[in-house]
Structures are given as C-alpha cells and as structure tokens.
C-alpha cells in the first residue's frame, strides 16, 4: 500500500540553524500539507500546497518557514533560523483529488532545537 515517507526521523539542531525536513508524498496525490505537534499538544496545521504554490498557511507559518516541491516526488519544509519553540514533531500529509479524500500522514520528523 502506498504511503507517505519522511526523512529524517529525528533531527537535532542548534538554535539559529537552518533545517530542511523532507517528505515523499503518495505518488498520484496532488495536495500536500505540513502539520506540527508540540509534545503533548494537538496537531496544528502549518501549510497546504497545491499546483506548485501555497494555497493556505497558518499564523505559525511565518517568514522563517518555506515549502518547496523541488522535483516530482519530494516536498520539503525549510525552517531558516530555528528557535527553541520550533521543537516539535512535524508531519507531512498528502491527499488525492476529490472533495472527500482523506489526508494520509507520514510517520513524522521529530525536530529538537537546542
């Protein structure tokens, strides 16, 4: 069964450093998403991406964040200058076409900012 994959599974970085989280969505999906979950809290929407552009973003997704689909398979989330409060689990998700298709989530990348 096709699945969303994410790398790395765990990323440790120093505050102020740039990180890139990578995702490979399900191959025939067209909608891509990033969510995050701070430890012990709910899953929060960050950004959605369709047709090579951001379709919606949350307040969390400020200028320090960016997303890119550099080729036909990868979808990346970049945090330019990490802060301590960026420590969280980051989930990538993808969705097919149609109004009711469910979003399929990857296993997540645990980001730890020291």
């Amino acid at each position: 069964e096709p699945e969303v994959t994410q790398t790395p599974s765990h990323q440790v970085t120093q505050m102020g450093q740039e990180v890139i989280l990578r995702c490979v969505p399900i191959s025939n999906h067209l909608y891509f998403y990033w969510y995050r979950q701070i430890l012990g809290q709910k899953v929060e929407f960050l950004v959605s991406f369709y047709n090579n552009e951001i379709s919606e973003k949350s307040e969390i997704f400020d200028d320090q964040f960016s997303v890119e689909r550099p080729d036909g398979s990868n979808f990346t989330l970049k945090i330019r200058s990490t802060k301590l409060e960026d420590s969280a689990m980051y989930f990538c998700a993808s969705k097919g076409t149609g109004p009711y298709n469910e979003q399929f989530f990857g296993p997540g990348t645990r980001l730890t900012v020291l």
């Binding site: 899953v43 929407f45 959605s48 379709s55 998700a93 109004p99 296993p107 997540g108």
Partner: protein
C-alpha cells in the same frame, strides 16, 4: 475557531470491553475523520465520515456523526491491548486543512 474537542481526555478499559470517544466541533463541515496515534509516532487514518452520512463501520470501528449537534463518536468494539493509542478527530476547514481535536488517550489493559 473551528476546534474539535474530544472527551474523555483519557480512557482506561480492559481488553474485550468497548471504548467510546466523542468529538465536538463548532462550525459546519464537509467531512470528519478519525486518526490514531501511537505514542510518539505518526497519525494513522482510521475512517472518514461525510457530512451527509450518519454512521459508518470499518471492522471493529463504528463512527457516528450528528451534524445537528456538531458531534461525532468513535466506538471501538472488543478492544485489544494493541488499540492503546491516542485518538483524534479532525474536521476539514475548506479544501485545504484539517483541524484536529485535543485527542483521547485510550489505555487497554490485557
């Protein structure tokens, strides 16, 4: 904001018992989805119920949706220790994002 809230926050049961989790939301939806998350792991999609559906089954899972009360329930029948996880409801907010609830932590004791 369209925020899902689950109750109870935590639920402990014995294997073989049924577990019921509830979710409430605030605004109209197109569909509602339930996800499971094992500790520290990713989200696994369980079931999607459309706004024009009232009940849906998938194996040992039964989901109901009451749009007049803006609520949904997830019933897991004949629970197993492997069902131990957090369960989240998620409502769609337009075509683009899901709004997750606070989750119910289910503990099933063998």
């Amino acid at each position: 904001s369209q925020q899902g809230e689950e109750d109870p926050q935590a639920l402990s049961i014995q294997e073989g018992e049924n577990a019921t989790m509830n979710c409430s939301y605030k605004t109209s939806i197109n569909n509602l989805q339930w996800y499971r998350q094992n500790s520290g792991r990713g989200l696994v999609h369980l079931i999607l119920i459309r706004s024009n559906e009232r009940e849906k089954h998938s194996g040992r899972l039964r989901v109901t949706l009451d749009t007049s009360k803006k609520s949904s329930s997830l019933l897991i029948t004949a629970s197993r220790a492997a069902d131990t996880a957090s369960y989240f409801c998620a409502t769609d907010w337009g075509p683009d994002k899901l709004i997750f609830g606070t989750g119910t932590r289910l503990q099933v004791f063998p």
